[in-house]
């Protein structure tokens, strides 16, 4: 399995039956393909849909039906359409249970940057800030390092921050961190990944769950 699909599958395991879920662009979009069959979740798209379904085949594309990434989608039975103000009222008001978002950077406290790049004109923010601020639970899915091999989990953000709100869970190709008041907690290693590798590729300090320490000792 493609590593991005691995991350998406891991994120999908966090979803619970009945959850209202908003999926960001990139890896988060792939989560839709991995939702466990024994639960029913409802996909919210901030451009005004509750109940997003799979992508249509080319013969069934409806130009009036796209997701927040402007890609054609379908809807499931019991779906509804609403305007943008109502859609973001849902988000800001805490009615979206889980948002799964992509990131550029995550800091040691679990705050993220995912909307602007230093040195480039800042011309797009979209719904990134709304989703991060309003969702009951925020899961970040990302490659652990950039294309250049730099850690995306950093001591301090060098990219503009998206919100003062910290995320709840960070899922990368190497590990899973939960975010608590005292910072990041490494709670899981990806298959065949060592604690040492995660430590080497993570700039920010993090706590290590007992289960990992024990597990790692066994693996060594």
């Amino acid at each position: 399995m493609n590593v991005k699909h691995y991350i998406a599958e891991r994120a999908a395991k966090e979803l619970k039956d009945g959850d209202i879920v908003n999926l960001g662009i990139g890896i988060p979009t792939l989560v839709a393909d991995h939702i466990p069959e024994n639960i029913q979740v409802f996909l919210h798209s901030e451009n005004g849909i509750l109940g997003v379904g799979p992508s249509p085949d080319q013969d069934h594309v409806d130009k009036n039906l796209v997701n927040a990434g402007k890609l054609p989608v379908t809807v499931v039975e019991g779906s509804s359409f609403f305007d943008s103000a109502f859609s973001f009222a849902m988000i800001r008001g805490g009615h979206v249970t889980v948002s799964i978002l992509g990131v550029l950077q995550i800091d040691a406290r679990g705050r993220i940057a995912n909307w602007a790049v230093p040195g480039k004109s800042v011309l797009g923010v979209g719904g990134a800030m709304d989703l991060l601020e309003g969702s009951k639970k925020v899961i970040v899915t990302t490659m652990h390092t950039t294309d250049k091999g730099e850690s995306k989990i950093v001591k301090e953000l060098t990219y503009p921050i998206t919100s003062e709100r910290t995320v709840d869970l960070i899922i990368t190709d190497l590990a899973v961190f939960s975010v608590k008041e005292d910072g990041l907690h490494l709670i899981e290693l990806a298959p065949r990944i060592s604690l040492k590798e995660v430590q080497e590729k993570t700039d920010a300090p993090f706590h290590i769950a007992d289960s990992i320490i024990n597990g790692t000792e066994v693996t060594l």
């Binding site: 451009n47 009036n64 305007d83 973001f88 800001r92 011309l123 719904g127 709304d130 998206t162």
Partner: protein, 218 residues
Amino acid sequence: MRKLISCEEAVKKIKSSSRIMVGGFGLVGCPLSLVDALADSEVKDLEIISNNLGEPGRGLGVLVRQKRVKKAIGSYFTSNPEVVKAFQDKELEVELVPQGTMSEAIRAGGAGLGGFYTPVSVGTKIAENKEERILNGKKYVFQEPIKADFALIKAKKADTLGNLIYNKSARNFNPMMATAADVVIAEVDEIVESGQISSEEIVTPHLYVDFIVLSGGK
């Protein structure tokens, strides 16, 4: 039907330097016939309030290419590289508003409110020049209402009175924009007799709609 006019008649009402809301999330729900008619007109120095500025040479992107847009207020312009270039060349002024704050600010404009406090963007670059306030222990920023001289919106269907319904995710910003401009022009795919749209289903009651044009209609 007294509100029905042609796209040409519609855009003749718009003067240079107007502040215009344009519906749509990208090209979806954008009143493309009205935008094209605007591109064929002589108006310039427009201030456009829209989530995006179309694509290169499509939708509002046409007006950008023609250098008719002086200022844009919206949430996501990065998807049109010509907007980025016009901004860098200082031909285009940009005001970036988070998408939810923007849709709420337009609603507030139409609802006669003086502004509201939102938690979104607190502590970010976007909020640098905005008033911050703690309410019940939580930080918020103040957002002013957004209004305009004109709203160009897209609906699926109008009845002869001007009641509107929309089409799936093409609804997006259109219903709020219908409430927040001095003159509201709705582009529709179809016009039906009054009474043909259920009273329970109407999204934009006719009192908000000044003029109607047919999509593709000249």
